[in-house]
């Protein structure tokens, strides 16, 4: 009987696929938008190439040397630096061709070597980008730290260096300066290599057995999106039950059978089948489009299956509780959204308020699902997924029986539609 019910429902869904497709496409679009906002989709270089301009307003010998060295630009796998004037750099930033620009202000070299007043570099960040300007700022911080270190350790040599940079000097004088500075650097290097304090990098035993999976932003996002949108699909699937009530086909079924459970189970199986198909398209399609390598696919399938069961059973209970179709759909959608948001589907659960994190989120099936998928993806989750699947299946069973009892009660009281 379940097979006949399933075939009927699949046929009906096939003739009106739009509601299903909408909830299928939305998470993929959101993942793509978020993923592309936060970085390039190259597998080797997840951060993408940081592109910025160097604007030399100092025009000192040293900075001119740097600008000339850059010429038409410097490019490697993760960095592109071009030398531009301020106007051109701002134009390129507005066109979002650059992540930012580092401006060396007038008299920077002179003031730095004189050490008579604080100097500063100017950083222009591209407000339309988030990650690359942040990386540029961090790199700028490192450059400032190095310049400060040099200032503290080579103060005595700075006068000669400033003379050397300001005007041509004899080669012998320049050679002496290079040699003395080199000797100091060499001596200084003895304090750094070997360092006085060092650390050893070790790996946790669990991760030594596996090839440590790299963090993939798309996988992280898509797991959350799947957690939320599978619930929306469950709303969609079980709203079909509301339609059966309205069409009186559920009532007609009851004129043939004493039990409501088989019909309810059939609708739940239908919803689960479609949720699993949707998950396969969402996660499988995501893997192809965003180059995600899902860890432990079989475990992931088990999690999706049990989560789909939970979603279908929960929505069945909500349909049974709400006799009005429109109110029922609104309530189910709110419930799905609430579970998704409070369960950390839309953003990391760690970002939620403490009360939520400690008293609500950790008890939500949506959190169990999303958190486990993310942990699996990060190379962990062993020992967790079995418990999560078990809990999800248990809740599915309880909710199914509850929905059946609620429907029976509702029908006997005369609330068929």
């Amino acid at each position: 009987m379940i097979g006949t019910l399933l075939a009927k429902d699949l046929r009906r869904a096939g003739r009106n696929p739009l509601p299903w497709l909408v909830y299928l496409i939305i998470p993929l679009c959101i993942t793509a938008m978020l993923g592309l906002t936060f970085g390039n989709r190259s597998e080797k270089n997840l951060l993408g190439q940081v592109r910025f301009a160097l604007v030399d307003e100092d025009q000192s010998r040293l900075t001119q040397l740097l600008s000339r060295a850059l010429g038409h630009g410097f490019t490697n796998e993760s960095l592109t630096v071009v030398s531009l004037d301020r106007a051109a750099a701002e134009r390129e930033i507005r066109a979002s061709h650059l992540g930012g620009a580092v401006v060396i202000p007038p008299h920077f070299t002179r003031d730095y070597f004189l050490s008579n007043q604080p100097v500063s570099l100017e950083l222009i960040k591209n407000p339309a980008q988030s990650i690359h300007p942040a990386v540029l700022e961090e790199a700028g911080g490192m450059v400032v730290a190095v310049l400060n270190a040099l200032d503290r350790n080579f103060q005595a040599d700075f006068t000669e260096w400033r003379t050397l940079i300001a005007a041509p000097v004899e080669a012998a004088q320049a050679a002496r300066l290079f040699k003395e500075t080199g000797t100091k650097l060499k001596t200084f290097g003895q304090y750094l290599d070997p360092p006085l304090v060092s650390y050893d990098r070790s790996q946790a035993p669990a991760s030594t057995a596996k090839s440590g999976p790299a963090f993939n932003l798309f996988a992280y996002l898509l797991a959350g999106m799947a957690g939320m949108f599978l619930l929306f699909e469950a709303v969609n699937g079980m709203s079909d039950l509301q339609q059966e009530l309205r069409l009186r086909t559920f009532a007609r079924y009851q004129t043939l059978h004493a039990q409501t459970l088989p019909f309810l189970a059939g609708k739940m199986v239908f919803t689960v089948v479609l949720l699993v198909l949707c998950a396969a398209i969402m996660l499988g399609g995501g893997a192809l489009v965003f180059h995600i390598h899902w860890q432990q696919p079989l475990v992931l399938a088990g999690l999706v299956l049990s989560y789909a069961g939970f979603g279908a059973a929960l929505m069945a209970v909500l349909v049974a509780l709400m006799p009005d179709e429109r109110q029922g759909n609104v309530l189910s959608t709110i419930a799905a959204m609430g579970l998704g948001l409070a369960g950390g589907c839309a953003f990391p659960a760690e970002q939620l308020p403490v009360f939520f994190r400690e008293h609500i989120t950790c008890h939500l099936p949506s959190y169990w699902f999303v958190n486990t998928v993310r942990q699996l993806q990060a190379g962990g989750g062993d020992g967790l997924w079995q418990l999560v699947i078990l809990k999800l299946l248990l809740i599915t069973g309880v909710l199914t029986v509850l929905a059946s009892v609620l429907f029976r009660r509702r029908f006997q009281l005369g609330g068929q539609g």
Binding site: M1, T4, K8, R11, R12, R15, N16, L247, R248, T249, A251, R252, Y253, Q254, T255, L256, H257, A258, F411, Q412, G414, Q416
Partner: protein, 310 residues
């Protein structure tokens, strides 16, 4: 004992008593009409018989099986045609019939064969592959009827199966139902159309406000009016008091009295001419008198004091 036997069936929704101590029987090969206005309790009665509603009191026996204690056995020999179109509009007529056949317990092959037979009997073969949503109202009604017949039920419950369709389509359905009766199916037919009940049903129960007011054959119900003739008088009856009209109340039973109309039935077996003479002698200027055979509506009028068509 009838194939369907209802004893003291009662159902309330809060303070409203929707059905109150209704009892009747339907025999095999009989069409029993349950006639009443909207809200009389017909659908509630059928819902309890079909096992969709739990009665507050009384019982329903179908071929000796109580719907309370042996629901599955009772349902196995029953087909229900709800008032609403309980079919899937996205599926074709053939798919709907096959699906409900499978739900009724037929094998896939049997459901296919039976679907073919029914499509032919309901003259829907040429539209069998089209989605039901593209059907006319009459065709949808026929599919709705067919979906209850896949498993050849011994008892068929029809809840106003001809509502909202044109006279031609209605006639087709009524002919089909007569055919089922001829094959021995017991049929409970609810309607608020007098003509349908008069022309189709062997026995009729009149229901109003949840109570079965009278039942019997058409002739038996007509007999309740005291004869086979009804007189309809048109005049100005405002302020009229029949109790002051001499022996009028001994000779006639008032069915309906309004400002413009008086409907009466003659008591006993009196000659129509004598009755007419007596009515024309009433103390008012009678504009018109019509003599007719009593209809179900007259019976309903006499029982409830209101017109079924109101």
């Amino acid at each position: 004992m009838g194939l369907l036997s209802i004893e003291q069936l009662t159902k309330s929704f809060g303070p409203v008593r929707a059905v109150e101590a209704v009892s009747f029987k339907v025999q095999a090969g009989e069409i029993y009409g349950l006639l009443g206005p909207n809200g009389a309790g017909k659908t509630t009665t059928i819902s309890m018989i079909a096992g969709l509603l739990k009665p507050d009191g009384g019982d329903v026996m179908i071929a000796g099986n109580s719907i309370r204690s042996h629901a599955q056995q009772a349902k196995a020999i029953m087909g229900v045609v709800p008032q609403e179109l309980a079919i899937y509009p996205e599926l074709s007529g053939r798919e709907n019939l096959e699906f409900w056949g499978r739900m009724a317990g037929l094998s896939a092959a049997d459901a296919r064969v039976r679907t073919r037979e029914l499509l032919e009997a309901l003259t829907l073969t040429d539209r069998a592959k089209d989605a039901v949503s593209t059907y006319s109202g009459g065709m949808k009604r026929r599919i709705n009827l067919g979906c209850a017949l896949l498993h050849r039920p011994q008892l068929l419950l029809l809840d106003e199966p001809t509502v909202g369709i044109d006279p031609q389509a209605r006639q087709n359905i009524l002919d089909f139902i007569r055919g089922l009766r001829a094959k021995g199916t017991a049929i409970l037919y609810t309607t608020h159309y007098l003509e349908e009940a008069e022309s189709l049903c062997q026995r009729i129960g009149i229901i109003d406000h949840g109570q079965l007011l009278a039942e019997g054959t058409l002739a038996e119900l007509q007999e309740r009016l005291g004869g086979d003739r009804v007189f309809v008088l048109e005049a100005d009856f405002s302020g009229a008091r029949p109790e002051t009209w001499g022996a009028f109340q001994q000779h006639f039973r008032t069915i309906k009295l309004t400002e413009r109309q008086l409907v009466v039935a003659a008591v006993g077996t009196r000659e129509p001419a004598a009755c007419l003479q007596e009515l024309l002698a009433l103390p008012m200027r009678v504009e018109n008198i019509t003599l007719k055979r009593p209809s179900l509506n007259d019976v309903f009028l006499q029982l409830t004091g209101k017109d079924l068509r109101e």
